[in-house]
């Protein structure tokens, strides 16, 4: 009688222990499964990033690592294809444009270069690599090129505005952009030959060129030291 009771208690205890163990096993299995999923996802993200990195970027090891880390972080936060991300960026830029125009008069006077460049870095990199001679560009270099381009557009816009004002115009036209380029010699050196000549610009240019250039009219300007002509890149294929 007493032995039977003890046996029953032991059996009950053993059953409890086994139940607990099963529970622990289930938890462990779930944890392992979750971890496997997480690792799989991470590997997938890393592979995608590595593939993109290999395809899109050829940079020094440090640059590659930094970019891969950044892209891995982005991939972890939002599992989106790059195309969608770029589209979103463009959409955001388009949306930003409208409010910006509305509050144009109240716009901040912050220096554009002080902020992260607005030009999309991926696009700038693709433009840079049109030149076959260029093998690798660090991320910092691409960033500087984008920021410099913004400064250049700003100074060209200011020059065009001055040209328009001198002609008593409230609207800036292509002819004023050309005039601005012509007035800044470093810009004229590389830009005038490449900008399409507008019909209406011809007489103005003839008048302007006469007194200022004299005998140099027909000659191509010598290039600054250490540079070469890059017109070939801009020939449009018909």
């Amino acid at each position: 009688m007493a032995a039977a009771a003890v046996a029953d208690e032991v059996t009950e205890a053993m059953e409890q222990v086994e139940g607990e163990r099963e529970e622990a096993d289930a938890v462990a299995d779930e944890a392992a499964e979750v971890m496997e999923q997480a690792e799989g996802e991470r590997e997938e993200a890393i592979d995608a990033v590595a593939g993109e990195a290999g395809e899109v970027m050829k940079e020094v090891v440090e640059g590659e690592r930094e970019e891969a880390n950044a892209m891995a972080d982005e991939a972890d936060e939002a599992m989106e294809p790059e195309g969608e991300r770029e589209e979103e960026a463009d959409a955001v830029a388009d949306e930003a444009t409208e409010p910006m125009e509305q509050v144009e008069g109240e716009g901040e006077d912050g220096d554009a270069a002080a902020q992260r460049p607005a030009l999309p870095l991926g696009r700038v990199k693709r433009i840079i690599r049109v030149d076959r001679d260029i093998k690798k560009v660090t991320n910092e270099a691409a960033l500087l090129i984008a920021a410099a381009t913004e400064l250049f557009v700003g100074s060209l816009a200011a020059g065009a505005h001055r040209a328009a004002s001198r002609r008593g115009r409230r609207a800036v036209r292509a002819v004023h952009v050309r005039a601005a380029a012509r007035e800044h010699r470093p810009t004229a050196d590389f830009l005038l030959d490449c900008l399409p000549a507008a019909e209406e610009a011809a007489p103005a240019r003839a008048a302007a060129a006469g007194p200022s250039r004299g005998g140099g009219r027909g000659e191509a300007k010598p290039l600054p030291r250490g540079t070469r002509r890059i017109d070939a890149f801009f020939q449009k294929t018909t």
């Binding site: 032991v10 607990e20 163990r21 622990a24 938890v27 462990a28 944890a31 971890m35 880390n69 972080d73 463009d90 830029a93 444009t97 910006m100 125009e101 008069g105 006077d109 220096d111 270069a113 002080a114 607005a118 030009l119 999309p120 696009r123 700038v124 840079i128 030149d131 260029i134 093998k135 690798k136 560009v137 660090t138 910092e140 270099a141 960033l143 500087l144 410099a148 381009t149 250049f152 557009v153 060209l156 816009a157 065009a160 409230r170 609207a171 800036v172 036209r173 292509a174 952009v177 380029a181 010699r185 470093p186 590389f190 830009l191 490449c194 900008l195 600054p224 250490g226 540079t227 801009f234």
Partner: protein
């Protein structure tokens, strides 16, 4: 071999840059209208500037017997192209970019530390399992 399609810069962004600048320079806050042909000229000019600057930076890079264009090559190229007024604001941008990068790197390190801690915590059920096995052995 067909030539690669010409990449264009987003018109909306170029327009924003131009409008911001004109808002700064226009006297008395009068609105300045920019025609479409002018906007196209700005976008084309920007693209040509990128090519010119990157080609010049590439020359700087080759002169130093290197293969990869870095930040210094770009800054030297701007001097070569006679745009020295751009160098100082770009140095500022470069510093801010590097600071941001450093911050992001430390953030990444923190994330890894947290992940390690989480893994340690999840291994606890295993110990519980061992304890259960140990109890069974005692009873035997």
């Amino acid at each position: 071999m067909a030539e690669a399609e010409v990449e264009e810069l987003p018109k909306a962004i170029v327009r924003r840059l131009v409008k911001e600048k004109l808002a700064q320079v226009a006297a008395g806050g009068a609105e300045v209208i920019v025609n479409k042909d002018a906007m196209s000229a700005f976008a084309e000019s920007a693209r040509i500037f990128i090519h010119y600057l990157s080609a010049t930076a590439n020359d700087m890079c080759k002169e130093s017997k290197r293969q990869t264009i870095n930040a210094d090559d770009v800054l030297k190229a701007l001097d070569e192209m006679e745009f020295p007024e751009f160098v100082e604001p770009l140095n500022t941008s470069l510093q801010e970019f590097r600071n941001k990068n450093a911050a992001r790197r430390s953030e990444t390190t923190q994330k890894k530390a947290e992940k390690r801690r989480k893994i340690d915590k999840e291994s606890l059920p295993q110990e519980q399992n061992d304890a259960a096995d140990h109890g069974k052995t005692d009873e035997d």
